[in-house]
Symmetry: C3
Subunit: 334 residues, 3 copies
């Protein structure tokens, strides 16, 4: 059986882990990246595409396979093509729609009794520091921070003029929670019926994480941008973990109720930890996040569960293997 | 034999390491955290308490055990309860008193010929950038930085008004050394008679490490806070290590002379490295620090000593095992 | 056979890796650091020197050995002494000269179609944010950033007055590319005929990485400095890697043509990633960089190639072993 994924985001980790668990591995790759993926011996087969429609055909061409979605899947293929994937997808494909609708997305967090930032429907309502976000997994491109309603309006006008958005309804205006970013990676196992903490990361964003190294008099006329270009490892103090797990379990329960068949596999609670040690979750990812690429050989947390190196990519393959042995593949795919 | 610790701080690492070395493991946990600690299979026994006095009774209830103190022990139980622990404690319990008295604490560093920041007895003496600290392991809560004596007085008045301190004698006014923080984790082994460098970390503090990502015009009216919420891995350039080891060995010798039976096990020199590559130590911890949680599977330094994954938690258990085999448990407990 | 290196920079990693591959290990150490290197059991022999001329004699004294150069070699011994090394050097010793001449150095990057920052011959030409660098591996000492030509001149005058430079021709005035630093570690294997990505790091610089934690009103009169005192681990988003590999392969080809016998072993492309996700390389290192010390037990990337812990130090020793078995030592030394 093949484990297949789209060549980007965390495909190296996913296929490396799949090979460790004994699967055949296949990457569906843009033809321009074929040479890149050829460098890695754990990839058995490279199916290259020149158009995105071809990519979908190639995904469907290998029937004896399971497809692993990741954070760049919908960004690359767009929702309508992803819907055409006919082979089993690891995880819950119904969650894709919920994630693409910002209101439905935040409602899953809210219904889980997770502390989320306030949001503002209208620039006129803004009464504090806010971050204005463009929807979709664009890696932070176009995000801006504003101190008051007039700065919000100014920023939105720029986005409208540059046609990066077509209407102000395209953006999310969220309270900017002051604190430190911390991204909690979890894995829900329907087979072992448990939530595992698989790791944590901080995003490394350009240019903002570079700008902050310059004296402020040099940077006053440079606009900060928030494009994620990498990830840095981090751990949380142990006393934060009980709350993080409560959030994760509540979230798994909410998704089970609202989006059948529920959460399967990796997800991420993208959080800010405030000075009162409150965890405020401003977003979630319903599948593997790129920050897990830090932990190809296991994380400080994965070693608490497993006596062998367990990346999230490998954890996915392990879940598939366990399900397969127990004749439960239907419980982890959709 | 049980290895026991209080459920917080680095208890997962400590008990995970103890299990690796073949010990039975027990956590003394607040009843609210029982569900959290249940998640981990390497914990054999969870003894839950509802009051802090109960916690001490539970610690003493298992006679065939060694108790491992960590950075949250005194913060949680307070000194008078810690004194009531009757079972053997790994390490030197006489050091607790020295650590709780800021003057005695800094004198151990000074007597070791370690470069420490200047400190000021009185706000009137302040003639440079300073950091004002509240005593005890409160994770940076309430710390503030001040540029001159009037800013110091202003900050102290706020703390007095909010009753976070009862007198200005409760605080430490320390020269703020400009440079980069670097926390050196060491382990002194009375059995192998050597100092090992077990790792290094940087603290990840809320909100200060988040604020710095914002343009200064947005943050001008937000007070920076220094509450430690996590840790980031780091290494030092090799040419810094000889001095770091000199400091560590001097310190071990000083503690041996001043605080019998001397240093046993993990300690940390909390330092700033200046642009002249001087190491200035502004604090020490006489037991395991939370930054070691980064290295559950070993650190870039532990691998230079050990051909197996060696966290500090496991290193403690290894020391106990070595001592036990050689009938020297009395040399590593107090 | 001995693997030998100078005691500093990455010598622990190099010798630790050499021992793993079964070699005898020797460090040529300043006599003041003898006690430091004695702490590590994987070092078989410590040859201590009191003068730098002695260091060269000691290097040459063990004929059955291969010498591993690192980033501090020329900084410590100076070029004329390094030329007197008579035993085989792992890597291409002809590259030393190219690296010490800033113009020749940058030309190798430019000829590889690698995006490099613009540079300015004369302070008068400066029309944007620039960084002014002193040549040689001085770890960032004396670097400064300037916003315009008058700030450049002011900074240069200070350096001339303090005699840190003797002429303005000693410095490099380079466009300061706004973005995030990211250092890509590669290894070119003449035996396996492939480029491997061995890791990535961010430099941890004093005092600049400490200053940024302070509110700007407190730091306005403190000059930022850029002395590298440590390294922090990082990974890049997967979609950046194809371009990074293209750069690395182009660079290997250029060095092969311009500096026979070409690139051998580790090198580093020191880069800034811009908000457009462009990779701009502002410098390269033709040998092992200190950032690889993070990965004594392997990096998130090394595990994609090797099923065993593979530091760059060990990778070097592995290359020597492979070459030795195939009677090709001449292809990897010079």
């Amino acid at each position: 059986m093949y484990i297949t994924t789209l060549g980007s985001h965390s495909s190296l980790q996913i296929l490396h882990g799949a090979k460790k668990e004994g699967f055949n591995t296949m990457v569906i790759s843009d033809e321009k990246r074929e040479n890149f993926y050829k460098r890695f011996q754990f990839i058995d087969k490279i199916n290259k595409y020149s158009t995105l429609d071809d990519a979908v055909k190639l995904i469907n061409s290998e029937i004896d396979s399971i497809f692993i979605p990741h954070g760049s899947l919908i960004e690359y293929l767009k929702m309508e093509r992803v819907k055409k994937i006919e082979i089993p997808i690891f995880g819950n494909r119904n969650l894709f729609e919920w994630e693409s609708n910002q209101k439905k997305k935040m409602s899953l967090l809210k219904d889980s009794n997770i502390h989320i930032p306030d949001s503002f429907e209208n620039p006129e309502e803004v009464d504090r520091l806010v971050i204005v976000k463009l929807p979709g997994a664009k890696g932070g491109k176009g995000y801006f921070i504003a101190k008051n309603k007039s700065e919000v309006k100014e920023g939105l006008n720029k986005l409208l003029e540059s046609k990066e958005i077509s209407s102000i309804e395209d953006v999310i205006i969220q309270e900017y929670v002051v604190g430190i970013p911390m991204y909690f990676h979890f894995f829900y196992s329907p087979i072992l019926k448990r939530v595992e903490l698989t790791g944590m990361d901080i995003r490394y964003e350009t240019n903002v994480d570079g700008l902050r190294r310059l004296p402020s008099n040099l940077t006053s006329d440079i606009e900060p941008t928030f494009v994620v270009a990498g990830n840095i490892p981090v751990i949380a103090r142990e006393s934060l973990l009980p709350k993080a797990f409560d959030y994760a379990e509540n979230f798994v329960n909410t998704v089970k109720n609202k989006v059948p068949p529920g959460m399967i596999g990796p997800f991420c609670l993208e959080s800010v930890v405030t000075e009162d040690l409150d965890i405020v979750v401003f977003e979630f990812s319903g599948r593997i996040v790129a920050g897990t690429n830090l932990y190809v050989e296991g994380s400080p947390y994965s070693w608490l569960y497993w006596d062998e190196p367990m990346s999230v990519g490998r954890r996915i393959a392990r879940e598939i293997k366990l399900a397969s042995i127990q004749n439960k593949l239907g419980e982890i795919t959709s």
